[in-house]
Symmetry: C2
Subunit: 440 residues, 2 copies
Amino acid sequence: MSTAAPHSTGRDRLWSVDEHLEDVLTAIRPLEPIELHLLDAQGCVLVEDVTVPVSLPPFDNSSMDGYAVRVADVAGASEEFPAALEVVGDVAAGQAGLLHVGPGQAARIMTGAPLPPGAEAVVPVEWTDGGLGEGPVDAMRARSLAPEGATGHVRVHRPAAARAHVRAQGSDVRAGDRALEAGTVLGPPQIALLAAIGRGTVRVRPRPRVVVLSTGSELVQPGEALADGQIYDSNSFALTAAARDAGAIAYRVGAVADDADTLRSTVEDQLVRADLMVTTGGVSVGAYDVVKEALAHAGDEDEPGSGVEFRKLAMQPGKPQGFGTVGPDHIPLLALPGNPVSSYVSFELFVRPAIRTLMGLTDVHRPTTRATLTADRPLSSPRGRRQFLRGSYADGTVRPVGGAGSHLVAALAHADALIVVPEDAESVEPGAEVEVVLLG
Amino acid sequence: MSTAAPHSTGRDRLWSVDEHLEDVLTAIRPLEPIELHLLDAQGCVLVEDVTVPVSLPPFDNSSMDGYAVRVADVAGASEEFPAALEVVGDVAAGQAGLLHVGPGQAARIMTGAPLPPGAEAVVPVEWTDGGLGEGPVDAMRARSLAPEGATGHVRVHRPAAARAHVRAQGSDVRAGDRALEAGTVLGPPQIALLAAIGRGTVRVRPRPRVVVLSTGSELVQPGEALADGQIYDSNSFALTAAARDAGAIAYRVGAVADDADTLRSTVEDQLVRADLMVTTGGVSVGAYDVVKEALAHAGDEDEPGSGVEFRKLAMQPGKPQGFGTVGPDHIPLLALPGNPVSSYVSFELFVRPAIRTLMGLTDVHRPTTRATLTADRPLSSPRGRRQFLRGSYADGTVRPVGGAGSHLVAALAHADALIVVPEDAESVEPGAEVEVVLLG
């Protein structure tokens, strides 16, 4: 495990938020790329430069339903003096060009169908009598109902310039062009392009598999009855949802009792499906802080490079944190504090960027902005610690939601931003400009 | 199927974009709510007002690892003159309050553990000698390694006010409070709150199941070889990805050949897993436009209320469109044009809002903004049609990406916005302000 240069040393050292984050992100490497089917690659980062193998369109084709004609045959045509052409057949999309359009001839052609040899332009069906011998029509009759439409004669009412209503081969992209660059995130339009150039699979970094487990003998599964001294497990639900939201495939293990052996064996058991592990609780200075007890020296002897380091951060909430790796494959593990607000804020600041780094994204952080504080009274904050208060942001202003207590989960559910009070501030006056992390 | 009041009538009627959208959204109703496990409800809309059944925290508890004491016993305590108290045992989180703290006594207590009867405040372990009889300590020793920490005596170095480091019962939310209102979208913090108040399941509108199928005999699955006149199917991939992106569970059927019977039976076959169906291609004026042929009168006789109406929109790209319902359950179906850009733009304008309406969301549209056009030359647009050009938006300006052709899928993959040229404009000068739909 790498560690950023400490400002102080020893177990009393207080890490800054930035030092801890740098330590985490320095140690975490993007996942190895794999070849995935297009739709499985949605939201993933491309790791190859994709080159166009065959031009798009692959052949000259019609942009309209109409008739493929020779320009000279329709020169000067009008509704009063139409050009009468022999219809030599249909060219539907998906048909190879078996027809040839000679002088005085036309082929009925559908949108996307290849321009047949001999033809130079397409006249839309609305510029013709559709072969019915009367005035202009607004559509062809369905082939299945009126097969005679592919034969007989058509009257064309307007001239067409060479290449009119023809999409030229290669007018979208040309063979050899760069379709997409490595690093592109694959959304629907990028998937459209990859499919269009014939790529059924693509090389991307996969979504990381994140295992979330909460610890605490006081935790009860929601929906069950609470006994004295118990509370409901909310962290494993919140962080599983947040991990998915960040782009991961998240597995919720749920609450593990405060027993170091149980915790150690649960972590080992889950390693097989984890690219990243997240625990909550058990990281502070109490006598039952089993995450610390179970993982602080995990693998020190058997597995070089393994082990989780526990530390104090100059941060509120979220002072106690653990980070390191576990198991023979050195799976990264972030051990977050157990208070619901502490664990959620810690997730946003450290786990979300870790997940996005595993995905190979370069933009790993929540957006931040500056906002004017709207509040009834000054915000107070402990000197030397960076405080993250829950807030509601709109139109350049932010107001606090609920108090600073790290157990206030109701307020968290009504916030959409974190208000950042820097280390050197002990209070912030209403009307002051503050930094805001946008969670939405 | 309801239809908005037409500006003109008959089959030549040209619908505006807004009329078609209104027609679609008027006909589509949010899905019936169901009870889902919390994590299955992520991203869904709550349909019940959720009331807090039991206050949070459910009991007075410690916010620190430390000692639960009586205020009088530690009054005036200092490091020089510590208060020596008898340790009567541990109170760990999850333990019911079996201990009683009498005069001259203290209970060692962990964060989140219930304040035992008799105790009035908590002193952090850092304000004590941790029972070791020496100076201040910075942590407790683990219970498993040092069980004697739960007994003996502790010296307290600082006084504590009544209720110090105690989180009061109900200080987060109180029984009977409104936790969340109907209409709330459930993200991670809302899931945290629901779990914290003990809700294992919640009543929400489910994600709609959207079946996507493309039509066209010219379409080949990406990864296979192209024969003459063939192109790759991109629409079914792009729209499946886009449907997921909008919040749906999307099923890609893939390309169906241009045969009305095959299409009709495929649609009927898929109905069982569809809350919404989307087709591409086959809706224009050609002789092989089988979606129109297969669905225009589907169920007219057997199924009152069924049937898909095909119409022309005053829009570019995306002029031909179909909308209606299919099958005995009147599943809504949007039939989009087949050109890749046309189908994608149509999806964004009509299908995405339909999906989000099915989800019960009120904010169903992509955000729009005004931007200054940056371009080398004026944009031209057909009078009487609303044009949607692909663009790249940044910092209040937008520049066109690629041309207007509805086959230009490469440009689409490099755009993040649609530039809207209104019906009454035939050209837009560089520097003019335009409306922009943000796709990102």
